[in-house]
């Protein structure tokens, strides 16, 4: 009797084991029946507080879809389908749509753009699910270290291109050096991915500023959507600050800047990251928008052209203004470049149905794009395995006629990008 029970139990155990292994088997057969189209999933914010970054996506996708029509791989034409999803400016939603793209749409390549809140969750899902992924528009430190990346090992499935803190620090310091104002800087660093990275004593501004002879007044991290900057303004006034820097979202900067005006704080140079990217933001500041300065990642005067359509930076920017009636914005260059790399990978990959071959092709990229040269093969522009730094310059919003134009005033980090004017002091 007991023997029979033993036998039964063993049978049950093997049965259970086979049963547990079954989902894996089912999945394997499903995966082998891959279809002939190469699917690209694209995640960007088109609604919500950071929708400005995805504002031009409709225009970019239209151009890119046309250019993708004639792509070939191994001598055969490739059908490419681009599935664009809105992250609603939320990292929760970005992770959700990334899994949807991976599981439901079965994408072969994931692209994601704009701020660590979009790039990081998408890249995390791609890394776990072993789907090739390229991201942009997030300084590389919050992207890499924010995902607990290990510089010695890097990531296997996720690659990134954008500038880093070293670039923005170098740019801002040389911009200020040339302005000739007192070397007293006030920092506005919020408690978010960018603010913590920029204000970090090791990776961020404090160290290099001290080395360059600047005194930094950092009143500490503040929460996003802060309603009262009085304590920051008081601290800046007390320290005799003439330069204000930081990395804030547009509403926070608008609050700070109007309160600074009300409280009689008049810095001579204001160079703030992230907040001053879009013409609409500058226009909303009215008269006080004139003369603010910012980092510039891409502009119509960048001497680069698209490897996909052959158009120059100027042509693409003008095309956008002509189609939509809106002024050009910086994300256009980078979001377009994401698809340039995708097209290049499609051309070169040994086997488009094999994720490993696709990611190998990504890693072997060596392409001149709309935002500069992109290569992850281990050159001076690769601080870590999965990141390539793109050229960065800086400049100032200047009133030209009845509208404000972003003018490059400092190209010390990348001299082949031409300057368009001189920095003017605010007061």
């Amino acid at each position: 009797m007991s023997k029979i029970i033993m036998l039964n139990r063993r049978q049950i155990l093997t049965g259970a084991g086979a049963l547990l292994a079954a989902p894996a088997l089912l999945r394997a057969t499903r995966a082998s029946a891959a279809d002939a189209t190469f699917k690209i999933g694209y995640v960007s914010p088109t609604t919500g507080p950071i929708a400005g970054f995805g504002e031009a996506d409709g225009f970019i996708l239209e151009g890119v879809r046309k250019a993708f029509a004639g792509l070939t791989n191994n001598g055969k034409p490739v059908q490419v389908e681009i599935i664009a999803k809105d992250s609603q400016s939320s990292s929760n939603r970005a992770a959700e749509v990334a899994t949807e793209l991976i599981e439901k749409d079965g994408v072969n390549l994931l692209l994601a753009s704009a701020t660590p809140d979009t790039a990081n969750p998408v890249a995390d899902q791609a890394e776990l699910n072993e789907i090739p992924c390229i991201t942009s528009i997030a300084p590389w430190q919050p992207y890499f270290f924010g995902r607990n990346g290990d510089p010695a090992k890097g990531f296997n499935w996720t690659y990134h291109f954008f500038w880093g803190l070293e670039d923005v620090i170098g740019n801002f310091i040389s911009l200020w050096d040339k302005s000739g104002v007192a070397k007293k800087v006030g920092g506005l660093f919020p408690n978010d991915a960018d603010g913590n990275a920029w204000g970090d004593p090791k990776l961020g501004f404090p160290g290099p500023l001290e080395k360059a002879g600047y005194a930094l007044t950092d009143p500490g991290r503040f929460q996003l959507m802060n309603a009262d900057f009085s304590s920051q303004i008081a601290a800046f006034k007390a320290a005799g600050v003439e330069i204000v820097t930081g990395v804030t979202i547009p509403p926070d900067f608008a609050t700070f800047w109007s309160q600074a005006g009300q409280q009689g704080f008049k810095p001579k140079v204001v160079t703030v990251g992230k907040a001053l990217l879009f013409p609409s933001v500058i226009e909303s500041l009215g008269e006080r928008g004139d003369g603010l300065s910012s980092e510039i990642w891409w502009s119509p005067s960048h001497p680069f052209s698209s490897s996909l359509t052959g158009e120059s930076s100027r042509q693409i920017a003008d095309g956008y203004t002509k189609t939509t009636g809106k002024p050009w914005t910086q994300p256009i260059g980078f979001n377009h470049a994401l698809f340039e790399i995708a097209a290049d990978v499609i051309k070169r990959a040994a086997d488009l149905t094999d994720p490993k071959a696709v990611i190998d092709a990504v890693a072997a990229t060596d392409l001149k794009t709309l935002v500069g040269p992109i290569s992850w093969k281990g050159g001076p522009a690769n601080p870590v395995k999965n990141v390539v730094r793109t050229p960065l310059v800086s400049g100032q919003w200047q009133k030209q006629g009845d509208k404000v134009e972003l003018v490059i005033t400092n190209n010390s980090q990348y001299p082949s990008i031409p300057v368009g004017g001189e920095l003017k002091l605010l007061s």
Binding site: A22, P23, A24, D86, S91, N92, A95, N148, A197, L224
Partner: protein
């Protein structure tokens, strides 16, 4: 020949219960018949079903209209990250641990917010959630305001194959989703449920009948917090990434849940189920419309609240008297057509 009986079940409920059990069995076997995408979707529905049933228990039956349940979702998520990053345990173990921690923290929180009533209580719970968010934004070892990602190694250690990993997370979601509904159902059929229904209908009257209102409210609040914390841990096990704004997102974990309960029918067990399913149907078909999708959701909520304050299920019961999960008693005449 007809006699009078006092009974809970209705002809429909006698069919509904075995059918529900069968459905759960079928869902438990989903890893063998569904694609990963379907698994993910059912898992997400289960997570929201759980949150909706729990919030319904709080607001619909106990009269605790909390708009700060995201406090416990986020707390659960952060417990998961603490367990995974610093203890290196299997992340599934974080789920019960998150439940225990949430319950322990809910006790002092309850002492604080229970001093407030009505709208003040609602705002108080929201404030508590904000305090949680701001506190976790200060803990730099968990990423602070920048957020943090779960190391891939920990996910792989949970189960090497992707299918097994997906299945494990799915079963956990199914257990929490169906578990929450069963928990609410059984609770409401118990003595506590009778007390809760009395509190829902009239607090003063039930107190005069000898119901110890504060003790029952505390028990429900702590119990709901515990399960909400467990759901939170599971949510962020799927998201792989946590940041204070995502973890303590009022719109994701509270407003959407209230939307589901209200359109489905508050104060019924069926309501949250219907509301959750309706929301996911809308999302599957309309989410790609962007802003327009959110406007449709808002318009729908207003429309349903005006046309039927008791939600869609309220509309069904008032017209037909149907009940899938009856918790009250009715008088029935047997022998006639029931």
């Amino acid at each position: 020949m007809s006699t009078l009986h006092v009974t809970r079940s209705t002809p429909l409920s006698r069919i509904a219960l075995p059918l529900a059990a069968l459905l759960v069995l079928l869902l438990a076997a989903a890893p063998w018949w569904a694609s990963t995408a379907t698994l993910r979707l059912i898992g997400e529905i289960m997570i929201y079903l759980s949150l909706a049933s729990l919030w319904n228990l709080l607001a619909g039956y106990t009269g605790l209209v909390s708009v700060g349940q995201h406090a416990f979702v986020g707390l659960g998520g952060y417990i998961l990250f603490t367990v995974a990053l610093y203890l290196g345990w299997n992340p599934l173990l974080a789920i019960p641990l998150a439940g225990i921690t949430a319950a322990l923290i809910a006790v002092p929180v309850a002492r604080l917010v229970f001093r407030l009533n009505g709208a003040y209580f609602a705002i108080g719970t929201w404030v508590v959630a904000e305090v949680f968010r701001l506190s976790f934004a200060q803990i730099s070892s968990l990423g602070g305001g920048s957020g943090s990602s779960l190391p891939i190694g920990i996910m792989k250690a949970m189960a090497e194959s992707k299918a097994m990993r997906e299945s494990l997370i799915y079963w956990a979601a199914l257990a929490l989703g169906t578990g929450s509904v069963v928990f609410v159902y059984l609770l409401l059929r118990s003595r506590i449920g009778l007390a809760l229904t009395a509190i829902r209908d009239n607090e003063t009257a039930s107190s005069s009948l000898g119901i110890t209102i504060p003790r029952i409210k505390l028990a429900v609040y702590v119990g709901v917090a515990a399960v909400t914390g467990m759901v939170g841990a599971l949510i962020f096990l799927q998201k792989l990434r946590i940041a204070p704004d995502a973890a303590f997102s009022a719109s994701d974990w509270t407003v959407l849940v209230i939307f589901m309960v209200v359109i489905g029918g508050i104060g019924t067990i069926e309501g949250p189920i219907i509301g959750t399913l309706l929301f996911f149907v809308l999302r599957e078909f309309l989410a790609d419309l962007g802003t327009l999708y959110l406007m449709i959701l808002g318009a729908l909520a207003i429309l349903i609240m005006m046309a039927s304050p008791k939600g869609l299920w309220g509309l069904v019961t008032s017209r037909t008297g149907l009940s899938l999960f009856p918790v009250g008693y009715r008088v029935e005449t047997r022998g006639d057509q029931g």
